[in-house]
């Protein structure tokens, strides 16, 4: 796991939206909820690899744009009855700046 890396301003991510962070191990989607919490997940749906960053965000969940799997942002788990899990990465906001710590697992997923 890397240390905390500054990736940008919170305001650059739309509320109930997401932005992508490029890494050598693949894209990471960084989500912002209505109450300004941030979550980071591999940008790959556990179903067929759809880009979660492009989905509709509601509460602390995102719906995959390809076939509507709903994924919990905090855990990366698909909401039952669907099954599957996406890797999460620690993310936080401090003074309007978003920080990310990349778990190497991203590379293998």
């Amino acid at each position: 796991m890397t240390g905390w890396i500054e990736i940008g301003a919170l305001d650059d991510i739309p509320r109930l939206g997401s932005r992508v962070v490029r890494t050598p191990g693949g894209n990471i989607a960084v989500f912002r909820t209505e109450s300004d919490e941030v979550f980071a997940l591999d940008d790959r749906c556990p179903h067929k690899g759809g880009p979660l960053s492009q989905g509709i965000v509601h509460n602390k969940r995102v719906t995959c744009p390809l076939h509507n799997f709903v994924i919990e942002l905090a855990s990366g788990q698909a909401v039952a009855p669907d099954e599957g899990c996406t890797h999460t990465h620690p993310a936080k906001v401090e003074n309007g700046i978003v920080w990310l710590s990349v778990r190497q697992a991203a590379a293998v997923s």
Binding site: D12, R19, V20, G25, G49, Q54, N59, P65, N68
Partner: protein, 819 residues
């Protein structure tokens, strides 16, 4: 502890299906509002009374039919006092009194005491061996009798009586059914269907004595027989009375609550004492009492809403349908089928196949249906009955059912029971019958929604919904699956599309959060189904005022391109009426080369699709296309897509009018508009119809004397030719009618409801009246469309390519080079 003191006390009398469904719905809406105590005379948790018939027939056990076990009550902090009967309600002190004399106070009281079987006041009715058919206790006694004795008489040839008779017969008894009238199940069946039913039950060994009136029950210490009006007698060791039910309202009546044939309640399920609610079979609502679960569940929902202090919903009564749960007999009945002067009937009878269908129409709508032998379309008819669909346009084929109309997923199958486990039910998600049955029995699913969530069957195009409902009914044996009367917009709310649209206007709601707050959405930010719907409704209702919420748009509409399976996008520039030029083609070719676009394909809508564009390249691709004069084709939009044309009088030797020119005119006027679902147009220059205009949402067929306007066609999941709307003489009139039609659809369609579905729902005549006949209304509709176009006709590509709109959307937030 503190909240214990402040919590209100809710007491429920009656631990049955309606009462506990209310409690469940209440817990969903307001889990912490009440301390709940439930009293039930029966010594069990809540069980599925409907399934007593299969228990009696030996097809299920009592354990199989438990809905809420004792643990469930504990887990939800509900005090269950089973085996205790309430003998009095003291409204003065707000207490209920148990038969042991215990007093329990309430703030709110729910009466859900169900009903009692009617026991005919015959001599001998108290003898041992004479029983009703209502609860586990009755079933236990019948099963016992079937092992000790041989002859049974069932009084009553209705649903309950026949199910009892069938069960006893399966347990080896000789059963005679005695019925007062000469038609079985006369409340649900007409004489023909009743006759077919009788015949097939007789083939299984059931004996009927009808019409016949029972006069006395014979016997000394136990029943030995029964005597009838004609003087004949039958030997019997068991007599089951199944002549009907009587709502159980004694308790309420004694407490001074207004009762007639049941406890009288308002549309919010309150009795005359506002603190006391009532639901279920004990209730009388708008002069109606009910004896089937589907309406009781509707009541439960409304009651729970009110108890949760969310007073929005009201109960408006229900239409019910019935299915006899005798394995191997397919019978369905719904609505009102008594003949009448203002009614028309469509009847199909096929004696060889043992099939009988009778559909009763009134004012172009289905008001009743009786099906025997082939009930696969039952839910489909029932849906149209409840929705009040105008069915005149499918009248000739109506009796053959949904499959024949291209609405059913599978045709030629007449019973799900006969299907093999491998039969595919849901073509969209590849779910076969076996998987659905397994999920229903293993996961104890009850509703269509449950099945959708767990198996994905019927969750996509929905054309297999009827089949899935049949599988549910056949697996459960009951009719749980009956869809709610009004379909909620999605799981986040109980309100229907129509309600939401109406309230947006009435309350002048202008943002998504405002709608959610006012209409008491159950989730924080809605979900992927309701947010895009609300966004559209607001956009269509308040043009120029409402600010489009990009985060509530499906990705395609957010980035104005179509997402592909690998996360790249496709780009389709508009080609007005399918006409292009060498310079446009050259620009497209250049763009494809410059951005290494892997696939260039001609679409079905007469344009060119560039597939495999990377998201970050989109703005630059658009900029180049814009430079060549091209704009977005909205190939991704719930909006105007293409106008397909033929070459018409310009070139074709048969052409009667300038179909290409008209198509371009329509497209230039209508592009950019958002609609409930996609809209595709077609214009053909003569009836040879080379532009395939008669399977489009709106199609024009030019003729010598003018323009025929058609609409409500489809050529996707369903195939359907258009309906003829009207014929006009000029291009301008054509434009006016089509625009007005589209505007009406924009104002009334449900989100994702294609034009043909909308037409099915509201009726062709209704639409014609408002768009064609009422000229003033047509002009007003046209005006509203034109007004909203002022705000809609900006090219979304240009905004993003050169005006920096939504710049963040297309660029990564950061690029990390991790060591």
């Amino acid at each position: 502890m503190l909240d214990k003191v402040t919590k209100q006390k809710l007491v429920v009398i009656g631990n049955g299906m309606a009462g506990i469904r209310t409690v469940e719905a209440l817990l969903e809406r307001a889990p912490d509002l009440y301390d709940i105590t439930v009293f039930g005379s029966e010594p069990y948790g809540n069980y599925n009374r409907i399934l007593l018939s299969p228990v009696l027939a030996g097809e299920k056990t009592v354990d199989d039919i438990m809905l809420n076990t004792v643990d469930w009550y504990e887990d939800n902090n509900i005090a269950l006092r089973k085996g205790e009967t309430i003998s009095m309600i003291d409204r003065r002190t707000c207490e209920v009194v148990t038969d042991a004399g215990d007093r329990v106070p309430y703030d709110r009281l729910l009466i859900a005491t169900g009903s009692n079987p009617i026991m005919l006041p015959l001599p001998g009715k108290e003898l041992p061996g004479v029983i009703g058919f209502r609860d586990i206790y009755d079933v236990d006694r019948m099963i016992k009798a079937s092992t000790d004795y041989r002859n049974a008489v069932v009084i009553g040839g209705g649903l309950l009586g026949l199910e009892a008779a069938n069960g006893l017969m399966k347990r080896g008894m000789n059963v005679t059914v005695v019925h007062l009238l000469d038609t079985l199940m006369e409340r649900q069946l007409d004489p023909v269907a009743g006759g077919l039913l009788r015949k097939s039950l007789e083939e299984r060994g059931m004996v009927f004595k009808m019409p016949a009136q029972t006069q006395a029950i014979l016997g000394e210490d136990r029943v030995t027989g029964a005597r009838f009006g004609d003087g004949t007698e039958l030997a019997a060791d068991l007599v089951v009375m199944a002549v009907g039910i009587r709502p159980n309202f004694e308790l309420a009546k004694k407490a001074g609550l207004h009762c007639e044939r049941g406890v009288v309640v308002s549309d919010t399920m309150q009795t005359y004492d506002g603190r006391i609610y009532a639901v279920g079979e004990c209730v009388q609502h708008r002069r109606q009492t009910y004896g089937l679960v589907a309406p009781l569940f509707d009541q439960a929902k409304v009651c729970a809403n009110h108890l949760a202090m969310k007073g929005f919903a009201t109960y408006d009564g229900s239409v019910t349908s019935t299915k006899l749960k005798v394995t191997g007999i397919d019978l369905f009945s719904a609505g009102d089928f008594a003949p009448g002067p203002d009614k028309e009937e469509i009847v199909l009878q096929d004696a060889n196949r043992g099939v009988y269908k009778r559909i009763i129409l009134k004012d172009k709508k289905i008001v009743g249906a009786v099906l025997y032998g082939d009930t696969i379309d039952g839910p489909w008819y029932f849906q149209h009955l409840r929705d009040g669909t105008d069915v005149s346009h499918m009248r000739e084929r109506l009796v053959f059912g949904a499959a024949n109309l291209g609405e059913g997923g599978v045709s030629g199958q007449n019973s799900v029971a006969a299907m093999s486990d491998e039969t595919e039910i849901c073509g969209c998600n590849g779910v076969c019958k076996g998987a659905i049955v397994k999920a229903i029995s293993e996961k104890k699913l009850f509703t269509l929604d449950d099945v959708r969530a767990h198996t994905k069957a019927s969750s996509s195009c929905g054309s297999c919904t009827g089949l899935v409902e049949q599988v549910l009914a056949f697996t459960l044996g009951g009719d749980y699956s009956a869809a709610p009367k009004v379909k909620p917009l999605c799981k986040c709310t109980d309100h229907s599309h129509d309600d939401v649209r109406r309230v947006i206007i009435e309350q002048q709601l202008k943002t998504i959060p405002a709608v959610m707050r006012f209409m008491e959405w159950k989730t924080l930010n809605g979900c992927h189904s309701c947010r895009p719907a609300l966004n559209y409704y607001l956009l269509a209702t308040w043009p120029g005022e409402y600010r489009d919420d990009q985060q509530s748009r499906f990705i395609n509409e957010r980035v104005h391109a179509n997402i592909q399976k690998d996360g790249t996008y496709s780009v389709v520039p508009r080609m007005w009426g399918g006409v292009t030029t060498p310079s446009e083609l050259r620009a497209i070719a250049d763009v494809a080369e410059k951005f290494n676009i892997p696939t260039v394909k001609v679409t079905g809508g007469q344009r060119i699709d560039l597939l495999g564009v990377k998201k970050e390249d989109l703005p630059a691709v658009w900029a180049d296309l814009n430079d060549a004069g091209m704009v977005s084709g909205h190939a991704y939009a719930k909006g105007l897509r293409t106008v397909k044309t033929c070459v018409g009088s310009e070139w074709c030797r048969f052409g009667t009018q300038d179909s290409t020119g008209l198509g371009v005119k329509l497209e230039k006027f209508m592009w950019g508009s958002w609609t409930p679902a996609k809209v595709k147009l077609g214009v053909s220059g003569c009836p040879r119809n080379c532009a395939e205009a008669t399977c489009k949402d709106v199609g024009v067929v030019c003729v010598d004397s003018g323009y025929e306007i058609h609409f409500a066609g489809a050529a996707g999941l369903h195939i359907k030719g258009t309906e003829f709307l009207t014929k006009v003489e000029t291009e301008d009139e054509t434009l006016e009618v089509i625009v007005a039609l589209t505007q009406l659809y924009r104002e009334e369609g449900w989100y994702l409801e294609r034009m043909y579905k909308w037409c099915d729902r509201v009726g062709l005549e209704q639409i014609r009246k408002r768009v064609v006949d009422d000229v003033a209304n047509r002009k007003a509709l046209f005006g509203r469309f034109a007004h909203s176009q002022q705000f809609a006709q900006t090219d979304p590509w240009a905004e993003r390519a050169s005006r920096g709109v939504d710049r963040n959307e297309f660029a990564p937030l950061a690029e990390l080079e991790l060591a």
